[in-house]
Symmetry: C2
Subunit: 197 residues, 2 copies
DNA sequence: GGCGGGAAATGACCTAGATCAAGTCTGCCG
DNA sequence: CGGCAGACTTGATCTAGGTCATTTCCCGCC
């Protein structure tokens, strides 16, 4: 079992270099927490108060539409951040739910402490800028996939993007992520992906 | 006709405060450029070399799928940034096309100059972090819309999100943005949006 | 070792939206 | 003014994927 704080510092260290004092400041402000499978971190209508970094296990965020269907926006395995950003940034009731799909541990930091970190370690702005750039690219690609690919192609992309996850996820969650019904995904997987060209 | 550089500084000024020397540094590194309607800024397969800030008119970015259909990722009217971020960040051949849908003017800065700006004005990291946060939220919402809403609902959202743009855009581009065929959008608009509940 | 509940499979049927193929309408360029 | 290329419309038909209901499977739990 790896030290969660070490994981966080390593993660940050990929983009910027922190001195020992800075590392201490960072680790001093994050608090550990663990979640059991299916336990909620955040529910629709609440106001999200903290940034969350996953140190083990896996969380997911999803929205529920007006027919009661779940649409998964993000999986967050070890080493990822997860949030309802709209709620967090504007301190407004969120539209997402976030829960653990496995027993998980995470590090949490309140918004005012986060702002303090930005003030005292301006380099962190850079770290998160770089993360967010990747995040935008990822969402753009996923959006284009949804606009231009068939369900089967989206499934294949998913398998390539999350080769580990796919083996531990219930099929219905994959369905919900790629945007098809569980029934349809089930049928699709039974069908022998037509050879082409 | 507003000064394009003033527009850029005003834009940045919404997030951070620059001193006169910093403002001069910024404006000194951006170069003006203009595009005629339909003129390309960037085409699939090229490697994007610069950040682009739109100062008048409107650009769009879109991908072409394996059936030859366009899918519009973004419209960038005055005051917005536009790029093929994947290409720009990784200096890799891009999958997007970017062109002007109206006569447009823009400010451009090469990547090395941009890095210099980040070095000399670290606050800019913050500015772009804040922009990118908004951008992620926007893409998340659009993705959820695509996963959970009908074509008509997506159209309505679009009208609310871009009330000005909708009046000057050809219908087929709206169709391409919301992810339906032009034929279907045409029919849909002819149908009197069923009253419900 | 039986049982309760969620996950998956499966069958029959349905529909939003796509496709293809003609038209028409419009604006702009020579 | 004439013509022609794009944008929009319209009709007929098709299909990927959805819906609903039933059954089976599997796994954790008492």
């Amino acid at each position: 079992m790896k030290d969660p704080y070490a994981l966080l510092l390593e993660h940050i260290g990929r983009n910027i270099n922190l001195g020992p004092a800075e590392e201490e400041l960072v680790t001093g402000l994050f608090r550990e927490r663990s979640l059991k499978p299916k336990q909620f971190l955040f529910q629709e209508g609440e106001i999200l108060k903290s940034q969350v970094f996953v140190t083990s296990g896996c969380l997911r965020s999803y929205a529920i539409d007006h027919n009661g269907f779940e649409h998964i926006l993000q999986f967050a395995p070890e080493g990822w951040w997860i949030a309802d950003m709209q709620s967090l940034l504007d301190q407004v009731p969120g539209k997402l739910n976030i829960d653990a799909i496995q027993a998980s541990t995470l590090l949490q930091i309140g918004m005012s402490d986060m702002e303090r970190l930005y003030r005292e370690i301006p380099q962190l702005e850079r770290h998160f800028r770089l993360l967010l750039e990747r995040s935008v690219v990822t969402y753009q690609n996923r959006l284009l996939d949804n606009l231009s690919l068939s369900a089967r192609e989206r499934y294949e992309h998913f398998c390539r993007a999350y080769p580990t996850l796919i083996r531990e996820l219930p099929q219905k969650q994959v369905a919900s992520y790629i945007g098809v019904t569980p029934e349809f995904l089930s049928r699709m997987l039974r069908q022998p992906a037509s050879r082409k060209g």
